[in-house]
Amino acid sequence: MSNSAISIKSLNKHYGSFHALKGIDLEVREGETLVICGPSGSGKSTLVRCMNGLESYTDGNLEVLGITIGDDTQQLDRVRKRVGMVFQGFNLFPHLTILENCVLPQLRALGRDRATSTIEAVDQLKRMQVYVHSEKFPDQLSGGQQQRVALARALCLQPEIMLFDEPTSALDPEMISEVLDVMQDLAREKMTIVCVTHEMGFARAVADRVILMAEGRIIEEGDPEQMFTAPEHEITKEFMKVVNQ
């Protein structure tokens, strides 16, 4: 049994009177690819955003890479430098070139020098097959290209864990596969991945485990094959029917 990368115990999150996460228990192993799915409003994005402290939680215990995520901002910073995140809306910096989008975080977060950062950025952009666009600005690229740049930007920091929050939901259908392809490569290289997505093809191809959330709880979890072919829970059955249409 390999080490646990993320360890969550009875995690609760309230937005005012709304109980968003209800006693979540979850372990993510090193090198594992975990897919989280579920109907909208089920708390899956909130859960992923708690993992690098973008959202705070009300009570419970959350450890990432052995570091407790809480109010200590220094510890949060340490975690964030080792955990990458890709968002639904790409969130590239619109006033910087593609290359600079990848260089700047290395300079500022890791204190690398510009030469090293540029070499790293070029490598990652080539790997994501967007190197030809280096000198362009984000709004000159398609959604699929932008999302691959966002992934390259995160990978430049050599993260040990990658978090994906619905990375393909804002993309036109024909661009989804170009992003999923590079994510699959990452999964095969044994990167620890937590991915919120409805792309069941991706889950089937590379996920080690799939969990289904609804109303702030984990309803069911299992390997992808079992989740798709023989779901136990009513909600899972309903959900699988909808996403497989």
Partner: protein, 359 residues
Amino acid sequence: MAASLTAPAAATGPVVWLRKHFFSTWYDAVFSILFSMLIAWMVNKLLGWAVFDAIWRVENRELCTHDAGACWAVIEDRGRLILFGLYPYEEQWRSTLACLAVIVTMVLSCLPKFWSIRRLPILWIAGFGIFVLLMRGGFAGMPLVRSEQWGGLSLTIFIFAAVFVIGMPLAVIFALARRSTLPVIAKVSGLFIDLVRSLPLLTLLFAAAVVVPLLVPEAIQGTKLGRVVVAFALFFAVYQAEIIRAGLQSTSQGQEEAAVALGMPYWSLVVDILLPQAFRNTLPSTINQAVITFKETSVVTIIGFFEVMASGNAAIGTGEWGNQYIEVYVFLAFIYFIFVFGLSRYGAWLEKRMRLGHV
């Protein structure tokens, strides 16, 4: 068959253009003729007054009568008073050089090449240092000239540039403070902005010039000009702070989240990500504020500084040239126009450049 279908030759040329835009119907034609006659009459009058019937040289000043054209002789005779105010006549070359130093500093700070945390402060310290040393003198054989005697165009430009350079960083600090997650800082900053904003500029400058010396020990009072510039900068800063805050609010939440998730520190989030976008989003309002500030520098007259507007008034206040106030005001308007128009064109150039993606 298709080969025989060629487009009809497009009718072009000035005659066609005129007909299309000014003579397409009979009433268009009537209005066009009437208005072009009116414009021609006005242009003729203006040129006659300003050029053909104008008196240019001081030796012809007795020709300046009510019936003659513009009497530009007043500018020849009083131009130096307008441009230099009360600054000693023999030393006015210093004022000229000092003024040039500030103008060069302003122009250079407008160039993207100089936009770095290291270069801008060096440039400003050098530019303003040269200005103050030259204007004040008191070394290397240059007699001391106190800031009470500074005046004219160089004073106007100095006040504007100093207000901008001091006010802009303050504005950034106020804007960030007002958005702070610490409620005390946000409240205090908000209260301060609203307080200063609800005072008239004149009151603030008057307090800086007259009231502060009564309350503050002499050692830290500074010069009257220094106090007035700081008060003016505060006034500018609270308005500009709200403009910057609007710009910060218009950047998406995702920008901040991305920078935080990448582990970038707060200062970098502000300096590298949020502020460039905020300035970019609010460039038209910022240029607007700069233009208003340039024109408002004339208010310092009231607390006894002879900036270019006051010097202009002095030029016609002696009776000798009392009838030539129109010429002097036209000349002043021309000076203001050059600066404000230059500022506006610079803003337009920046906007165009940003559309191409640069900061």
